[in-house]
């Protein structure tokens, strides 16, 4: 890589740290990683860390469900990253690669600890009756027109957070990647080593379960 460019980039990083993040956001993750591999500059590593720390911790927490375990995974991932970032080949987005590394580390920890998992089965979870009708099941708990203040209240956020943690791990992680982190079905499938159809199936059941949970909460709240 051209030396002058790297020098200009380092200057940009330094300026962005002290003033605004605007210039920094123009540099892609993949460019940052290439430069870190080439230079091993701590400032660049710090920027990579800043961009991805919460994503890594959030996914680790979603899988392991304790902050202690999530922090262990978080540390392991960034330790691994500092040593093995050269194994990133650029075949996928850097964030997808990092999610995969995080998910693998978190699953290893989960298996090692043999932690109790949810035993709810969502295989056939659906809101309709045996005739395929929703009649009498949804409308009387319609909370969609509640004001944003109520829907996005701290309590509602806690309810959905707790409900997500009730999901079986396979549905929980897919929901986290798709609907919280905003990955596409294809990206989530790549991170988790699943087919797109499997991602969609797990996500569908998770969403139905969570919509139901929120309906119960808002219905109770109104009474």
């Amino acid at each position: 890589m051209e030396r002058g460019f790297i020098k200009r980039f380092i200057n940009t990083v330094t300026r962005a740290k002290s003033s605004s993040d605007t210039a920094m956001s123009a540099v892609t993750d993949e460019e940052l990683v290439r430069m870190y591999i080439e230079r091993g500059d701590e400032l660049i590593y710090e920027e990579i860390l800043s961009r991805h720390a919460d994503k890594v911790f959030g996914l680790a927490l979603r899988i392991t469900r304790t902050t202690e375990d999530a922090e262990e995974v978080f540390q392991e991932v960034f330790m691994t990253l500092s040593k093995k970032i050269g194994t990133f080949r650029g075949e996928s987005k850097f964030s997808s690669w990092l999610y995969r590394v995080t998910a693998n580390a978190a699953y290893m920890r989960l298996r090692a600890e043999k932690k109790h998992e949810s035993n709810i089965s969502l295989e056939s979870y659906a809101p309709y009756d045996e005739k395929g009708s929703l009649m009498g099941r949804i409308k009387n708990k319609d909370w969609s027109s509640r004001p944003d203040l109520a829907i996005f209240s701290k309590e509602a956020v806690t309810i959905i957070e707790n409900s997500i943690n009730e999901l079986p791990e396979s549905n929980r992680v897919v929901f986290h990647l798709r609907d919280i982190e905003g990955l596409s079905n294809e990206e989530a499938a790549e991170v988790l080593g699943l087919s797109v159809a499997a991602v969609k199936s797990r996500l569908h059941r998770a969403r139905l379960f969570l919509r139901d949970k929120l309906s119960d909460y808002f219905y109770e709240w109104r009474k």
Binding site: G58, S82, L134, M135, I138, D179
Partner: protein
């Protein structure tokens, strides 16, 4: 995906909701789905609450986990065990 001659029912709305939200339905299924939800208040409420649930879940993305303490512990660990080349 609908079957020819198949009457769209609530179950079809539920089972097609993901592709509907992602705008991936074929035109025929989309038309049938919207025709059904136009007539079925239960399905309208289902679609509306489903979308609101997704809006609420999206809020969780703003959550910050990594406190200065957590970051500091990582920094100490990195300095003690790793020297970037």
């Amino acid at each position: 995906m609908t079957n020819p001659g198949h009457d769209f029912i609530c179950r079809d709305v539920v089972e097609n909701i993901m592709d509907y939200i992602d705008k991936e339905l074929d035109l025929e299924t989309l038309t049938e789905l919207e025709k059904h939800t136009g007539m079925c208040p239960e399905c309208r409420a289902f679609v509306d609450t489903y979308k609101r649930m997704l809006d609420l879940a999206g809020k969780l993305k703003e959550k910050k986990f990594v406190t200065p303490d957590i970051r500091n512990r990582l920094r100490i660990l990195l300095q003690s065990k790793v020297k970037p080349s």
